[in-house]
């Protein structure tokens, strides 16, 4: 046994170096970007010699930036509500049921998640025109909702597959009709999955650029605003905006991760 431990030690040290190097690779660019938001100069670049909070106070007193935040959050919340309802419904249909065309249905269900970003944006743009949806908030909400449905379906199906069938059967035996059995047994069991999927959809929508860009009207979402500002030149102001967005998404992401894990453990 000892020999074996010896044998794997070399690999282990090498691989742990690779892991920590990877951690650096994913964190360092973001840390640098955050630091640059505190630079006391309009010029983006290293080294940073003096520091300031002016860019942040600027962001929080900029009416356009603040309204863009609100706009993005509203889009994220509304599109998530649609995705969650539709996604859960599709998951209930697909999980553990055999019917003609189930495979095709499943394939088409995950399709929006597999279409490359630009093509998905173009297809939605053309279809919005066809349906008569004007570019703007409604169009973005619709596109985000459709794009995020597959993620809800996959998460909810995974949870649904672990629901003991006997519970539903017991409810039916006691006289519950299918709807009440769903509302009182299935739905409560799905809550952790639905919450986890909701957070994921919120972040996907809040972070989405390409669909918001092609379906948006005059009012930009946050990523579109940052993109527009970047095209006219880098400035620490953008760093401050990006940092606030980063903190928001990272905190929600980590909290959701812990929350769903705890809920999964409890049940």
């Amino acid at each position: 046994m000892n020999n074996r431990v010896e044998l794997f030690r070399g690999n282990r040290i090498f691989l742990s170096c690779v892991y920590w190097a990877f951690v650096l690779y994913v964190f360092v660019p973001l840390i640098l970007m955050v630091l640059m938001g505190f630079k006391d100069s309009k010029f983006i670049g290293f080294p940073i010699r003096s520091w300031t909070l002016d860019w942040y106070t600027g962001v929080f007193s900029d009416a356009q930036v603040l309204s863009t935040f609100g706009y993005s959050v509203a889009i994220a919340v509304l599109s998530t509500l649609i995705s969650v309802v539709v996604g859960t419904w599709i998951a209930v249909l697909l999980e553990g049921r055999k019917f003609v065309g189930r495979g095709v249905t499943f394939g088409l269900t995950v399709l929006p998640a597999l279409v490359p970003g630009i093509i998905s944006a173009i297809a939605f743009r053309i279809y919005a025109r066809y349906l008569g949806i004007e570019p703007g908030m409604g169009a973005i909400i619709w596109a985000h909702a459709v794009h995020n449905v597959p993620f809800v379906v996959l998460v909810v199906m995974a949870r649904l597959s672990t629901l003991p069938k006997s519970q539903i059967e017991a409810a039916r035996d006691l006289g519950a009709d299918p709807f009440i059995a769903f509302a009182r047994i299935t739905l409560p069991y799905l809550v952790p999955a639905i919450l986890g999927a909701s957070i994921f959809c919120l972040l996907l929508s809040f972070d989405d650029f390409v669909r918001s860009f092609f379906l948006g009207g005059y009012e930009p979402t946050l990523p579109v605003l940052i993109f527009a500002k970047l095209k006219s030149g880098m400035s620490p102001e953008i760093n401050a905006i990006a940092t606030v967005a980063l903190l928001l998404t990272a905190v929600i992401g980590v909290w959701a991760e812990r929350f769903t894990r705890r809920m999964n453990k409890e049940s």
Partner: protein, 315 residues
């Protein structure tokens, strides 16, 4: 007794409420009807919302004018596709996109495989989630913000150039930005997670004893990797690569911000047809369709190849 308690709850009252009861009776009259009621909305949604946009794009790509101006008749035509094959100016960004996507996918695989391997095999169960979560945090951050972070890292006055200068390795900053290199760093940075997760779940399923048995039989580290881990994780590699390849072909903002005139990708070409007047839409739709078809064919062939590789190994 049981009836009494059930009637006190909301659900009990709902169940015995006349109209609801009648409705439910009607809906659940036969298993067939029950299924139809459950399936109608999802099927309708999938057909109109998931398939609809793709079919409409295909339809528009086959017309000569869209949106149709009043008084103008719309004709079906293959002109838009002919335009792509007729002009080499479009082939260049097209093949560049596919080659870049392939190369970046391979880079992502090479970069994340050892990380996934370390997580799945050398970290205790208890810590695995913690180590994985640490890597997930940056991936919650959006595409644009992370692209911007790469711009700051690689700029002429960026962190990398400053570090190289301080070390005395260079006198003048290296122009990393607006090249295929900066684009590659950005895209690998954005897609790494989509490779890492499938690899991790494939490696996690692999029993530790297999590697130990191979080691007992005298296999070295490289042989163990090549003959044991690699063949048994082909499924994870295959799905990770497919995902990353599809995502890489679809990036628009990242190539615009990190690339230059010599790295124009097909996404920028397609987007160009939608920024100008409406009558270019059919061409844009045709180009998007070509792109999608090419990406689908490549990933399907790749998956088939990987599958046959796996089956061949089992024999």
């Amino acid at each position: 007794m049981a009836k009494e308690t059930s009637e006190r709850t909301f659900w009990g009252r709902l169940a015995s409420w006349g109209p609801y009861h009648a409705l439910m009776h009607l809906a659940t009259a036969s298993p067939r009807r029950q299924f139809l009621i459950l399936a109608a909305f999802p099927i309708l949604w999938i057909l109109t919302q998931h398939l609809g946009p793709m079919l409409q794009m295909l339809r528009v790509s086959l017309t000569d004018a869209y949106p149709v101006a009043p008084g103008v008749e719309q004709h079906f035509t293959l002109e838009n596709y002919a335009r792509f094959f007729g002009d080499s100016i479009f082939w260049q960004p097209f093949f560049r996109t596919l080659i870049f996507a392939g190369v970046f996918t391979f880079c992502t695989l090479v970069l994340t495989y050892p990380v996934a391997y370390f997580l799945a095999r050398h970290v205790s169960r208890k810590n695995q989630m913690l180590f994985l979560l640490l890597l997930l945090i940056p991936f919650w951050v959006g595409e644009i913000v992370r692209t911007y972070a790469i711009m700051i890292l690689l700029g002429n006055t960026g962190a990398v150039n400053l570090a190289l200068k301080t070390l005395g390795l260079i006198d003048r900053p290296i122009p990393f930005m607006y090249t295929s290199f900066s684009m590659g760093v950005g895209i690998v940075y954005l897609t790494a997670l989509y490779m890492l997760l499938p690899l991790y779940s494939a490696l996690e399923k692999l029993p530790k004893s297999m590697n130990e048995a191979a080691a007992d039989l005298g296999a070295g580290a490289w042989t163990r990797f090549r003959r044991v881990s690699l063949p048994l994780t082909i499924e994870g590699i295959s799905s990770g690569c497919t995902l990353v390849f599809l995502i890489s072909t679809g990036f628009y903002a990242t190539p615009v911000l990190l690339g230059g005139p010599s790295t124009t990708v097909f996404a920028e070409t397609i987007a160009g047809f939608f920024h100008v007047a409406g009558d270019e839409w059919p061409t844009g739709a045709a180009f998007a369709t070509i792109m999608f078809m090419a990406a689908l064919i490549i990933t399907t062939v790749f998956q088939k190849l990987m599958n046959s590789l796996r089956k061949g190994d089992k024999k």
